[in-house]
């Protein structure tokens, strides 16, 4: 296993991976929340019909 944090490039590598992971996790959570909320609202509207 390499020691990334000992590398002189560590801030750049960690920054690039950090941005990617934050984006993927962030958009994943937002999409999942929207999907769940849309499903619940549709179910409630169909039951109220």
């Amino acid at each position: 296993m390499s020691l990334i944090n000992a590398s002189q490039f560590a801030p750049y590598i960690n920054g690039a991976y950090g941005v990617s992971v934050v984006f993927l996790v962030g958009i994943g959570i937002m999409t999942f929340t929207r999907y769940r909320r849309a499903g619940r609202r549709l179910q409630a509207a169909e039951q109220a019909r």
């Binding site: 390499s2 690039a16 941005v19 990617s20 993927l24 849309a38 609202r41």
Partner: protein
């Protein structure tokens, strides 16, 4: 004779249209997507985590760039997905203009923000790679500039689709922008061959002759498949959510009209 030929052609055209309409039905899409989504999400998370962890910790450092080359395992997949996403956007826009199908408009609307996000990741990670290698976060290089144009095309598409009171007008205008903007895709791909660029040339080729060692190629391919699956999962989930939101709105409107 001629009439028969014309009638056969018309029938064939009709079949093509009905085939497309059969699979592009929003209700049918929702029923197909629901059982597939958990599997898509599981595979995309597993492959993306494997690719990223492999690239960050276990892949060998580059002989020339050292550990900085590890940025490749997020930068390259993000770039590929950004371009593939725009190609998908252009295909949906083509279907929207030719067949005027609402599912194509819906897909284009949901692809835009996801594709813009991946393009932003590509630009930021590329900039963080450029600083230690070139001594600058940004240069007006042909590859970098054409990807920045791609990002602006995505932003323009997102804005244009929502810029009209009548959503159909927005979808039509955005579809034209997406189709015109597709000319940027070959420019991005061939920019490193057509101009002298600071950005390195293509390392991986489908036709063979990849200039990357296998211990670096495997994590890169796994991360790339993971990113592609993430993109597909996100777009399918967003399209499903949008269909459910529209159904809910229609049900609530119908209920409001029935109310005394």
């Amino acid at each position: 004779m001629n009439e028969n030929v014309l009638a056969q052609d018309a029938l064939a055209g009709g079949r093509t249209g009905s085939w497309l309409h059969y699979y592009a039905n929003p209700g049918r899409f929702l029923r197909l997507a629901k059982p597939v989504l958990p599997w898509l999400a599981a595979f995309s998370i597993a492959l993306t985590v494997t690719g990223i962890v492999w690239g960050y910790y276990f892949a060998p450092a580059d002989w020339e760039q050292g550990d900085a080359a590890r940025i490749m395992y997020v930068h390259v997949p993000a770039a590929w997905v950004a371009m593939a996403g725009y190609a998908a956007l252009a295909v949906c826009s083509f279907f929207s203009i030719i067949w005027r199908h609402p599912l194509a408009d819906l897909a284009a609307e949901e692809i835009g923000p996801v594709g813009a996000g991946f393009t932003a990741v590509c630009l930021v990670s590329g900039s963080l790679w450029g600083k230690p290698m070139w001594g600058a976060y940004w240069v007006w290089d042909a590859r970098l500039t054409s990807v920045l144009v791609l990002f602006f095309l995505y932003l323009g598409h997102i804005a244009l689709i929502r810029a009209f009171d009548n959503p159909q007008h927005g979808h039509r205008a955005a579809a034209i922008l997406a189709l015109v903007g597709a000319v940027n895709l070959p420019i991005i791909v061939y920019s490193v061959q057509w101009w002298n660029t600071l950005h390195q040339g293509n390392t991986i080729s489908i036709t063979g002759g990849s200039k990357i060692y296998i211990t670096m190629l495997y994590p890169l391919l796994i991360a790339s498949v993971g990113f592609y699956l993430c993109f597909i999962t996100l777009v399918v989930a967003r399209m499903s959510a949008a269909i459910m939101e529209r159904k809910t709105r229609n049900l609530l409107l119908a209920a409001a009209e029935r109310a005394p």
